[in-house]
Symmetry: C2
Subunit: 211 residues, 2 copies
């Protein structure tokens, strides 16, 4: 996979608790059918074996469709299932250490809420950033508010692409137009909706309008 060619427009983050269907695999398949262009698996309560086996199963859906599969936090799961990369929060293993372990081919994303965190992530080898939370969200409770001003500061601070994350839906994203974002990471706006494929399609169209 050519990392420079990745389409970050609609970045799906899975959530077992919120999803409207029975399996993570089903939610991923439907979201991709609706236009999700990157998939991040986030599992906070699974055993390592469960997370590994899930990643192997989901890769069978993402790989044939050319959609990068990113693992939240767990570098070992990425290596074990040979997925495309990892996403690291500020409480996860530091990006420079992760880059040393994973080599140059794997995608590494880093969560950043300030221009300083963003610039450090780029220096440490990140391929993209997750910037947020841009709106209030029920998915994560430990987030800081990231204003349009901060987003502009982050855009000025780095050359790598970034997606915004946090409480985004197809309506409120309009307020983020003109800020230079490369895509939107969504959880409940897609996987919690009754029709995941349609929700993804609606969300993707909304992101394309403001990019």
């Amino acid at each position: 996979m050519d990392k420079k060619m990745i389409d970050y427009t609609l970045y799906l983050v899975t959530d077992r608790e919120l999803m409207s269907c029975d399996t993570i695999e089903e939610s991923v398949e439907r979201a991709i059918a609706g236009g999700a262009s990157v998939v991040q698996l986030r599992e906070k309560n699974a055993t390592s074996r469960e997370f590994y086996e899930l990643a192997v199963r989901v890769k069978k859906i993402t790989a044939p469709r050319g959609v990068p599969l990113i693992i939240n936090d767990r570098i070992d799961i990425c290596l074990a299932a040979d997925t495309n990369g990892v996403h690291l929060g500020q409480k996860d293993i530091p990006c420079d250490i992760a880059r040393r372990i994973l080599g140059s081919e794997k995608i590494i994303g880093v969560s950043a809420a300030t221009p300083e965190e963003a610039a450090k992530a780029e220096r440490d080898g990140a391929d993209y950033l997750g910037v947020g939370a841009v709106f209030s969200t029920s998915t994560k409770t430990d987030t800081r508010p990231v204003t349009p001003e901060i987003i502009r500061g982050i855009r000025a601070a780095v050359t790598i692409p970034f997606v915004v994350i946090g409480g985004i839906n197809s309506e409120n994203i309009e307020t983020l137009k003109g800020l230079g974002i490369n895509g939107a990471a969504v959880v409940s706006a897609v996987v919690a909706q009754p029709d995941i494929e349609t929700a993804a399609r609606t969300m993707r169209a909304a992101v394309e309008k403001i990019k």
Copy 2:
């Protein structure tokens, strides 16, 4: 570190909740002073960053003393902090996958409660086994009882060393004499005692008598 030369006699497993002193580092330092010959860091609630930073700090204690530092479950923490190895339960990443990721130099231990699990772990590249729970224990609640008969079956099934684990103290270990065990893994019998160094010394003497 020559893996064949490792002394498994007193295998310390850390426990933040049970320890009698203020820091994991202090409990490890005192246990080694009392004769602990392997240290396993087990952290079930830490963030990846916290676990990584703890491993880096504890390695500064174990490495100069020639004591192998093993990480419970998390292959990524082992790689990030460059510790000596990992210990994998049956709910963790499979041993053969872990071996592929870690290469031949790192130590891999696997939990086994039956001769079948033990034989599979050896085939899959394990360097040692953790066999238990041999006694009832408050540390883990999801364990199956491993009888002396099962221990004999495991000893017959594998050539690699194994430590017994689960509710072991310096008195009840006497009932495990003559079973071919290579060491005892202890949590509360050492780290929960008021004087960790003395508890380790007492425990080590008890293990040496039954080996």
